[in-house]
Amino acid sequence: MENNQLALSVKNLTVELNKQKIIEDLSFEIKKGETLVVLGPDGAGKTTLLRALLGIIPYSGEIVWSVKNTSYLPPNELMQRKEILPLTVGDFYSLKEITKNRVLESLGSVGLEQNLFKKRIAHLSTGQFQRLSIAWALVDKPDTLLFDEPTSGIDIGGTETIYSLLHDFWVKYKLTIILVTHDLSIVWEHADNVLCLNKKGLCYGVPEKALTTENLRELYGVGVKYYHHKR
């Protein structure tokens, strides 16, 4: 293993919130340019893992980033808040102190019209907003993207678009991506490695080896009946 190629190394990570262990003794690594999909049922600690990786909650164990510039997109939280303030697309970017030219460039990169600059975020469609979030997360040219349930609440067509956009950026900028989802189908198309999380790490490795029927049963319980291997 070429250690200088590592983007992130996590050793014996334990996160305790309100005296409850949310994540227990988790270890894994991500190489630069790799896509890691973190898979697990609701309440498995996936979002908590991202928050620990970002250093915004206390944890024990070791988290070592070898890359500096990470960008994070939380799950749908933005959607819930967008009605309160008369925030325009331009205002949204201004939170990151980005110049107007770069904003327009950023909008173009995800196929959004430049005239959306003055449009209220509340008036965007779900699909437009999701494209905007991706563009917004990538406007600082981060080397790593942490993405939490990017397609929750979006229909199948929209989901495809989001992942093909992400894939394009991944190819173009050699991004390291950590993607949290409960959607198994993502794994086969996009993951280099998969981490099954349900409080503990239940499986870790390339999808073909890690996602055995036994592991999936352990991860999701007995409910996974419609699981198909694509290839």
Partner: protein, 256 residues
């Protein structure tokens, strides 16, 4: 010709109203508009002590607010109970305690404010503190908006959310402490909530929204003092009725 007392009242009310409207736009974005009410009420023990010992009511109020906000902030960190619940606990206790010793003849003044005894020095102090509050709010404005959208997102962008929230709460304390001079402890929710709502109806982006709060708050203050002078009704209620009038207009002409 405007007499000196009226001019002082106008200056003070407009500046406090304007900064309260500006801060109110942030409070609305954090869904904290109503918190202005309880925070006003909990100043009562401070006002009562100030009235008994004869010092400026704003000083008593502000001291009480800082104490209460620190207590609420610490409780929030420790218990993770919603701030509004903690505020309810602290403010009702304060009001209860205040009525143990608030002089009966001062009750009205404490509850709805009194600007008839203004002096030049107290006006200068109020205006300066309003400007200070404005600068503080302007400095943290975007960061608060960011954390209102998503606290995790703000933290991931290296914004020290806890620290910014504490500064924000101290700004709230300062503005409420100033506000009770005009509207008393009963009506403070109005000066932070109504202008922000008015501005929200009329603005189509964040800048208009923020500065709209200033204009709506300042204008309500000015109209209130004119009404106070013309019809001899207490200034506090006059300011708030003006503000409510502006809000109704904004409903009719809303752009969002």
């Amino acid at each position: 010709m405007m007499d000196e007392k009226l001019l002082l009242a106008m200056l003070m009310t407009v500046s406090i109203g304007a900064v309260a409207g500006y801060l109110g736009t942030l409070m609305l974005s954090k869904r904290m508009s109503l918190v202005g009410g309880p925070l006003g009420h909990l100043t009562l023990p401070g006002i009562a002590i100030a009235l008994i010992y004869g010092f400026d009511v704003s000083i008593g109020a502000f001291a009480m607010l800082v104490l209460a906000i620190i207590v609420i902030w610490l409780f929030e960190k420790r218990t993770k109970l919603p701030i509004e619940t903690l505020t309810a606990i602290v403010f009702t206790s304060s009001v209860a305690v205040a009525f143990l010793f608030l002089p009966a003849e001062e009750v009205e003044m404490a509850l709805i404010g009194d600007i008839s005894q203004l002096t030049l020095s107290s006006t200068i102090l109020s205006v300066s503190l309003s400007i200070l509050a404005f600068i503080v709010v302007k400095t943290i404005y975007k960061k608060i908006v960011f954390s209102a959208i998503s606290e995790d997102l703000a933290k991931s962008e290296n914004i020290k959310v806890d620290r910014i929230n504490l500064i924000y709460l101290l700004a709230v304390a300062l503005v409420i402490g100033l506000g009770i001079r005009i509207v008393g402890s009963l009506l403070t929710a109005a000066i932070v909530s109504i202008p922000a709502a008015t501005s929200r109806n009329l603005s189509i982006n964040m800048k208009q929204y923020a500065y709209g709060g200033i204009i709506a708050g300042g204008l309500a203050g000015m109209l209130g003092i004119i009404i106070y002078q013309l019809f001899a009704i207490p200034a506090g209620p006059a300011v708030i009725i003006s503000s409510a009038g502006l809000f109704l207009l904004s409903v009719a002409f809303r752009r969002t």
